[in-house]
Symmetry: C2
Subunit: 157 residues, 2 copies
């Protein structure tokens, strides 16, 4: 993997995350790149913006890439460690590589993916960490909703 | 679980699957039910209809149920064994029960869910089997695309 190329790929995902934050949404962004480095699709979490709980950043990027016969050689780039839902997507569709901005604020299922042959790269990117840390502090209930943590007793949305 | 109630729930999912078949789509349907038996959302695979590869039947039903703070006590009913993607959804959001029409034509990740504490009921429903068997025979390439089987050499969509 080319370090400069990966930096550019992460920048695409971070731009999506920042746009999501500006919209009042969950600031996670993602992009799906083809074997030759072509951007196939990008997107961001749209729970708040569209009222759609199925659109995590990774699924939004996957959707934007449209119908495809194969995901051979593709790379899913995401600002945050993918949850079980998004990791299940990666496994089912045979996406062979996942590049992750950070896994410090949320540790999803990327170890599971690595254990099933997916190449996983965690970048420990300070900008990604800062984005999520600020968001979670300001919006703990929304964040819990987005990852399915049942926080009974809090006010519903 | 009440046998009559479960039969009614499956009928909702089968109606979705049949509607999908009539639209030229992948005939899998699903419905999410609340703890008291209220229908929260239903849907069908929309790969063909919307050109959207993220909408399997289970994710379509989950989307239709809108934003929720908790999935405690809910049941996901689906005509077909859920793939890794849809099983990841169930695990991430803590859906405690999955009712499956059949797992004969496609064996997804329901054993994995059962191993992680999800109550899994497989009904071996002949109508669900017949629906999928006929569809797969008539549309093997479309079916492979829907579950991410890379069938290189075939004509792409």
């Amino acid at each position: 993997m080319d370090r400069e190329q990966v930096g550019g790929w992460l920048a695409t995902a971070v731009a999506e995350a920042r746009a999501g934050l500006a919209e009042g949404g969950v600031p996670v962004g993602a992009a799906l790149y083809g074997p030759d480095g072509t951007l196939l699709g990008k997107g961001r979490n749209r729970r708040v913006q569209d009222g759609d709980p199925t659109l995590h950043a990774e699924t939004a990027a996957f959707r934007a890439a449209g119908r495809r016969r194969t995901y051979a050689g593709t790379t899913m780039v995401t600002t945050l460690s993918p949850c079980w839902y998004c990791s299940g997507l990666v496994r089912q569709f045979g996406i062979p590589r996942v590049v992750i901005g950070e896994a410090a604020t949320f540790h999803g299922a990327h170890d599971w993916l690595a254990g099933h042959g997916v190449e996983v790269v965690v970048l420990d990117d300070p900008e990604c960490v800062a984005l999520m840390r600020g968001f979670i502090e300001a919006n703990p209930v929304l964040w819990q909703e987005d990852i399915g943590i049942d926080a009974e007793g809090d006010d519903g949305p």
